[in-house]
């Protein structure tokens, strides 16, 4: 288990500041969208909160699942690295814990996670990981000022056009995911 700078790779709970939908009150559409969004969504305060707007949740989940899980393109561990770096940069403790775990499961190591928790700007155990981390920070912090200079380091580590698009999607969608997690509720320790 890693705990540094307020971040952890341990499992956390999340508490909603809104009234999550009660399953007993759910419409057939809401149940359908919950089931297609995530395996545990019927008991997840996060999904039950978002289920107040089922069509918005449906298309968000379709985008998210295609970005993070589709086969081919950028290796999934590298998408998770991008997601984790954005989550640390945005200060989203909950998302960071989830995606640190996913990275560890896919990469079968945790050295990069410690580095990201310490300082995402210098994190990475290879040139390729460092290029991914720096790009994730640039997209997060200064989207209006992105340019060719931000793409060159990705090409320099032999990323294909399709891989760059996968990375851009993974990094950008955590601008979306972090904002929901950080503005509709807060993380809670599983032990409390």
């Amino acid at each position: 288990m890693i705990r540094r700078n307020g971040f952890t790779d341990e499992s956390l709970e999340w508490r909603s500041w809104l009234e999550p939908l009660r399953i007993a009150d759910a419409s057939p559409l809401q149940l359908e969208v919950l089931d297609e969004s995530h395996a545990q969504s019927r008991t997840s305060p996060y999904y039950l909160t978002l289920a107040h707007q089922p069509l918005m949740l449906r298309h968000r989940s379709a985008a998210y699942n295609a970005i993070m899980y589709a086969p081919g393109g950028l290796p999934r561990a590298e998408r998770e690295l991008g997601a984790m770096v954005v989550s640390v940069t945005n200060g989203c403790v909950y998302c960071t814990s989830v995606h640190a775990q996913r990275f560890e499961q896919l990469a079968k190591r945790s050295d990069t996670v410690e580095q990201v928790f310490d300082n995402p700007a210098s994190a990475g155990t290879s040139e390729r990981e460092r290029a991914i981390a720096r790009f994730a920070i640039a997209v997060t912090e200064r989207p209006h000022a992105l340019g060719a200079d931000d793409i060159a380091p990705l090409r320099a580590v032999a990323m294909t056009e399709e891989e760059i698009i996968d990375l851009l999607h993974a990094v950008a969608i955590f601008g979306w995911a972090n904002r929901l997690m950080q503005n509709l509720g807060e993380p809670a320790d599983t032990t409390t």
């Binding site: 379709a62 793409i151 698009i165 851009l168």
Partner: protein, 162 residues
């Protein structure tokens, strides 16, 4: 490459200056499902009826967010949508100032979120389903404007030819 038929009204393509036939337009279709779900999200966020949250007010929020983030081409898209909205001249909801404040805080730094911001929206008269819709819209815009900015950077790195 999936040959999914995506009509030529994709908001991100327009904002990033991609047209069918461009190499980058084709490369983006490597993830046709993402292209499709992103556009469907945009449509659902703006067009789904939401009690207390008119489409015109959602467009006003989108314009505010994109202007704050210097996402010029997207701001123009939402301005054009508002100009074409039948309810553009109807007065905005009394809750609009609170909505714009919430949107600005969330866009500038997601750490700004707290329970007090949610309570302010409730006091302004928004029910929880409307707050979910507003938060989804603002969070989506953060994603959309970053995809547009990234595609523009990719285009620039190809020497300006998309």
């Amino acid at each position: 490459m999936p040959a999914l038929d995506i009509p030529d009204n994709d908001v991100i393509d327009h904002a990033a200056g991609l047209v069918p036939g461009d190499a980058l337009h084709s490369a983006r279709r490597f993830r046709a499902k993402v292209v499709e779900a992103t556009q469907a999200s945009h449509d659902a966020l703006l067009e789904q009826p939401v009690g207390g949250l008119s489409t015109a007010d959602r467009l006003r929020v989108a314009i505010h967010v994109c202007t704050l983030a210097s996402a010029t081409s997207l701001a123009q898209h939402y301005q054009a949508r508002l100009a074409a909205d039948a309810a553009r001249d109807a007065p905005p909801a009394a809750a609009l100032p609170a909505m714009l404040q919430f949107a600005a805080a969330l866009t500038t730094d997601p750490r700004n979120g707290d329970r007090a911001a949610i309570d302010a929206l409730r006091h302004a008269g928004l029910a929880d389903p409307a707050i979910v819709a507003l938060a989804q819209l603002v969070a989506f815009l953060s994603y959309q404007l970053r995809v547009v900015a990234g595609l523009k950077a990719m285009r620039a790195s190809r020497g300006g030819t998309p």
